[in-house]
């Protein structure tokens, strides 16, 4: 076998340093590309060269979910049965009151179940991938929810997969309110010294309104991104940084992104679920992994659920 001689002479006729400078300039340009162009390049790489690795992770995640402890699953099932049993009377009361007010039935929220995959590469700390896409009704900005509350939203939906961000992303914002709807504010991510110390900050609460520790915050539906009523977190304490006549509060989120392996993605026609008054009312329906997108109830244009704000 011939002894290998390193390439020490550079490219003939074309100065190597010139190429290097050109590539360096290209890398700087890449850094400042518009978001849409960056997404296109990233999407192309994810769907081509890196696709086998993504598929391998999809398979492994599915296997790990199937291997989940049956006792844990049984506990979750029992909890759900209790919730369903307790809400039977509520549903009945709701139906009665709606008939008294001559309101038609609310459109139920539609979900698709999805598995979460984490890339684990530098710079991808606040993002994850889902194994469902536009074929199942997922669109850009679809909210992603775990059992306990809001996890994040879809950034980019492709045919069979989607890229999403969780609440630790620096650009995460959600309009929030207390459960009784008396106090409103804007929730954003507040990075901690370590990733595990990340938490949420509620801004924009009027100075005359105070929140005590333990108060639950949910999405308000304002802004049109998240439907009203998804649980976000609970107040820990008031933040020291006050801006003008406003208060800020630290929140402990209901959902830890590290625990997310299996989530639900809220789907529907463009803007439908965002017009709904509450995601938690009206009997959310989760489609199984193999289920096709369900038809939404027609003829509800005169209800409050579909009336644009």
């Amino acid at each position: 076998m011939p002894i290998y001689k390193s390439d020490t002479n550079g490219s003939r006729g074309f100065p190597s340093a010139f190429i290097a400078v050109g590539v360096f300039v290209l890398s700087v340009i890449t850094l400042f590309l518009p978001d849409a162009s960056q997404d296109e390049v990233a999407s192309l790489l994810r769907g081509s060269l890196l696709r086998p690795f993504v598929l391998a992770q999809e398979g492994l995640v599915r296997r790990s979910i199937h291997a989940e402890d049956t006792e844990v699953l049984q506990r979750r099932l029992d909890s759900l049965e209790v919730v369903i049993a307790n809400s039977n009377t509520l549903a009945e009361e709701n139906t009665t009151l709606r008939s008294l007010l001559l309101l038609s039935n609310r459109i139920p929220a539609q979900y698709v179940a999805a598995s979460v995959m984490r890339p684990g590469t530098p710079g991808s700390e606040s993002m994850f991938m889902l194994d469902v896409g536009t074929e199942r009704g997922v669109t850009d900005d679809s909210p992603v929810i775990m059992g306990q509350g809001l996890l994040g939203r879809v950034l980019e939906a492709q045919a069979t997969s989607a890229t999403a961000m969780d609440w630790t992303h620096p650009q995460f914002r959600a309009s929030a309110m207390t459960v009784d709807g008396t106090v409103y504010g804007m929730v954003r991510a507040a990075p901690g010294r370590f990733r595990e110390a990340d938490r949420l900050l509620l801004n924009g609460v009027p100075f005359h309104q105070e929140l005590g520790p333990g108060v639950t915050l949910v999405t308000s539906g304002l802004g049109g991104l998240y439907p009203r009523g998804i649980r976000i977190g609970v107040v820990i304490e008031e933040s020291g940084s006050q801006e003008g006549w406003q208060r800020s509060y630290w929140l402990r989120p209901f959902v830890s992104p590290g625990e997310a392996t299996h989530v639900n993605v809220l789907v529907g026609e463009e803007g439908e679920f965002r017009d709904a008054n509450s995601w938690s009312e009206g009997g959310p329906q989760v489609q199984g992994p193999g289920a096709a997108p369900q038809e939404l109830a027609p003829g509800t244009s005169d209800t409050e659920a579909t009336t644009p704000r």
Binding site: T8, V23, A42, R118, G120, P122, L155, M165
Partner: protein, 160 residues
Amino acid sequence: MRTPARIWSVVGFLILLHFGLHLSLGLGESAPDLLVVALLIAAREVNIGRGAGLGFFLGLLDDAFSVLAFGANAFALTLVGMGGARTRDLFVGDSLLFLGSYLMLGKWMRDFLHWVAVGSDLRESFVETMLIQSPVSAAYAGLIGLIVIAISGLGWETIR
């Protein structure tokens, strides 16, 4: 014996292994940064232009899942590839000390350039990132790199 086939096979294997560990298995920081090890090994064998090109390509692959700062990895690995190729002219030798330092400094430099490129809004504190976390991951990558070089028999006699 150091042959082109062996060197590029090892480089290709390390790249595949990197994405296999980080992406397919989702190990994250638990797995070493084999991409920079592969680039540093390859950069010693090519000229500065090809080193930069390879670094840019590998960086783009790493950036495919980066919504925080797309291009930061490409920027960092381009410069690391250029620097790695340039070291051939500056440092001659294949001692254990040199190779260990080369791999560790290369990894630390990659982290530093990435830290610079992500911007002030996203970066964490310099002390925690560059003086605590990065040296540990650099030592990890350096150790794995030395083991790979020794096992694969890339011709660096002194560490076998």
